[in-house]
């Protein structure tokens, strides 16, 4: 039965992609859309065929809830490190950071560093405790010794907000990028991404999602390496010569030092907090720690992930400078006004053409598409787990649920989230979605992280404290983003922002921690006593891993 559904949906998808390509041909006159890119489409179809093959293989091995949520806990540290790096190296960070370097040089490096330094701290303070306590989702850990209903509900709400915001941003990015790269209409691109991701997740669960992520990470790292080496080769592997030429092209050496990205100390610190603590509160990243066998493998995962991500950021820096010398000097890639054809984020894409011709451009375009696909799959799986494991099984059914039913709910949730992502992706086509990832990080840092962190570290934390403080952090983050310059001025068109800073994390994280502390120490309820008494046993499990979830034997 399952086999035939899989084959049928794969067949439908092929027909769909083919009509999409034809429809694109008919619409060629449209302003922004590019002519149909045949090498890119062929390479993308190869990726899709390969990953659907993996999904089919994974579907045979995904039988229990543990398989579905965590790939049976059998992923190795090295594989998981690649998958984590894959989750983190989204198309937005590849195209966005190289574009930032292309525009303002050194500032791109500052941004990358902010994204990277959260990882060591996650390793030192969170990774192994999380692995020792949790089963499928980070809410397992946050609610380990607290009352299930309120904490699961809050965590699921935090997880779903992050997932949805991230999904919308990725979907809109996917639609626009694909329109540009492949010459497919926007709606087709969004629907295609939605259907593929539903297939990966519902049939192949975490195992398929992880392997799609690993393959994409390898493709992206190889492609970026080729580009960086090609750029350096042109300058006899001399950074001095590359930078010299870039300064000559730009007509200023401002690109070699910090510019306007970080203007005042409050913004600088606040951005740093959002990036660091936000990373430690992203549900799709935290879920990855349950896919490995034990704390040892969890640590290795972060070690490898940090290496891959750091290497990737070094490559994007070289790629951005490469684009300055090879793209900005070639009229083929520029509009008559001197901007990049297709918009600012296209620096890396044009560079791919400049160093590798049509075929390599096709490869990088296909990799960018694959990247979006892999990231949205991971997000959807995390969202579906929050619905089925946290909301349905723990809150709604109070833990009285059989595994088959929970998995069925999870698959339904995946389909609903996929359809929702398609609808929202189309609805937000013309909107400015750049603030959404920032808001997602702010919520992750202000609601998910403080509750998770204090539940593992602070013995006096109580259910009331965690719930009220976490909720306050969540509300503060949303209110400050909406009344801040990005939404209040740039999107809603008001004159002046009510809250002056772009990044609210410094304030909203403080509110969350103070709130949790205050409501916990004031808590004299019966439940508070249970919460505090349970810390000792939790801490022993945290420290030693006794009683932790093992890997499935198959």
């Amino acid at each position: 039965m399952r086999k035939s559904i899989f084959v049928w949906s794969a067949a439908l998808l092929t027909v769909f992609a083919a009509t999409g390509a034809m429809a694109a041909g008919a619409l060629e006159g449209e302003a922004e859309k590019q002519p149909l890119n045949i090498p890119a489409i062929i390479m993308f179809l190869l990726f899709v065929a390969g990953t659907l093959g993996i999904t089919y293989w994974a579907a045979q091995r995904t039988k229990t809830a543990k398989d579905f949520y965590t790939a049976g806990g059998g992923i190795t540290g090295f594989q998981n490190g690649l998958a984590i790096a894959g989750d983190y190296m989204s198309a937005a960070s590849f195209l966005g950071i190289s574009a930032l370097v292309y525009r303002s040089g050194y500032d791109g490096l500052i941004y990358s560093i902010g994204f990277l330094v959260g990882w060591p701290v996650i390793l030192f303070l969170i990774a192994e405790r999380l692995r020792n306590l949790g089963k499928y989702t980070f809410a397992d850990v946050a609610s380990y010794r607290l009352a299930q209903t309120p904490i699961r509900a809050l965590s699921a709400f935090g997880a779903l907000s992050v997932v949805l915001l991230y999904l919308i941003a990725q979907m809109v990015g996917a639609g626009q990028l694909i329109k540009l790269l492949f010459g497919l209409p926007y709606e087709y691109a969004v629907i295609l991404v939605g259907i593929l991701m539903i297939m990966y997740v519902t049939f192949g669960g975490m195992l398929a999602t992880t392997w799609v992520q690993i393959i994409k990470a390898i493709l992206l790292l190889s492609g970026a390496t080729f580009m960086a080496v090609a750029v350096l080769h042109g300058f006899g592997y001399s950074f001095e010569a590359l930078f010299q030429k870039a300064i000559e092209v730009k007509g200023t050496d401002a690109i070699m030092s910090p510019g306007g990205l970080v203007s005042d100390p409050i913004s600088a610190i606040s951005l740093g907090i959002a990036l660091m603590l936000g990373t430690a509160g992203l549900p799709h990243i935290l879920m990855r720690f349950f896919t490995v066998a034990d704390a040892k493998e969890a640590r290795k995962s972060v070690f490898y992930a940090t290496g891959f991500i750091g290497y990737f950021y070094l490559l994007t820096f070289v790629i951005g400078f490469g684009a300055i010398v090879l793209v900005a000097t070639n009229p083929e890639y520029l509009t008559p006004e001197g901007g990049l054809i297709g918009g600012n984020n296209m620096a890396a894409i044009h560079l791919a053409h400049a160093v590798g011709g049509d075929i390599f451009l096709g490869f990088i375009s296909a990799v960018a598409f694959a990247t979006i696909l892999a990231v949205v799959s991971g997000l959807t799986l995390a969202g579906a787990s929050a619905i089925s494991h946290d909301l349905y099984a723990s809150v709604f059914m109070r833990g009285q649920v059989n595994e088959a039913k929970e998995m069925a709910i999870s698959k339904m949730a995946t389909i609903v989230l996929g359809i929702l992502a398609i609808i929202l992706g189309i609805a937000f086509e013309k909107q400015n979605v750049a603030f959404m990832v920032g808001l997602a990080f702010a919520i992750a840092a202000s609601a998910n992280f403080p509750v998770l962190f204090l539940s593992m570290y602070w013995s006096k934390l109580t259910t009331n404290g965690a719930f009220l403080g976490g909720l306050l952090g969540l509300i503060t983050a949303i209110v400050l983003v909406v009344t801040g310059p990005i939404v209040w001025v740039a999107i809603l068109g008001n004159e002046e922002a009510l809250f002056p800073y772009k990044y609210p994390a410094l304030f909203s994280v403080t509110v969350a921690f103070v709130g949790i502390w205050l409501f916990s120490i004031m808590d004299n309820s019966e439940r508070a006593k249970i919460d505090r008494d349970a810390f000792e046993a939790q801490d022993v499990r945290c420290q030693t891993g006794i009683g932790a979830e093992g890997a499935a034997s198959h």
């Binding site: 050194y106 490096l109 500052i110 990358s112 560093i113 902010g114 990277l116 330094v117 990882w119 060591p120 701290v121 390793l123 030192f124 303070l125 192994e128 950074f239 001095e240 930078f243 010299q244 300064i247 050496d253 070699m256 030092s257 910090p258 510019g259 970080v262 005042d264 100390p265 600088a268 610190i269 740093g272 660091m276 704390a295 040892k296 640590r299 290795k300 972060v302 070690f303 940090t306 290496g307 750091g310 950021y313 070094l314 000792e536 046993a537 022993v540 499990r541 420290q543 030693t544 891993g545 006794i546 009683g547």
Partner: protein, 102 residues
Amino acid sequence: MQQDLVERIKNNPKYEELVSKRASFSWILSIVMLVIYYAFILVIAFSPSVLGTPISDSSVITIGIPIGVAIIISAFILTGIYTVRANGEFDELSKQIKEEAK
């Protein structure tokens, strides 16, 4: 976890050793990373021109570039240092504690 098992583990001096050694190690490394990062951010916020100084008179490369690259590499090295010690020494202690609690 049963209360008697918790008690037995907590009374094992090796448990005390594991917890205190690991806590101080992980907090020290976290602080090292935070100090490196926030020192960098504060220089950018208060005195960005420092990072714009060329590494030598004849070069266009500013010291900001090797410093930035060094921060990225330091993040990787710090995770490596922690992983080696935790996967060796700490896991060994943890294994002994588990054996002795049986």
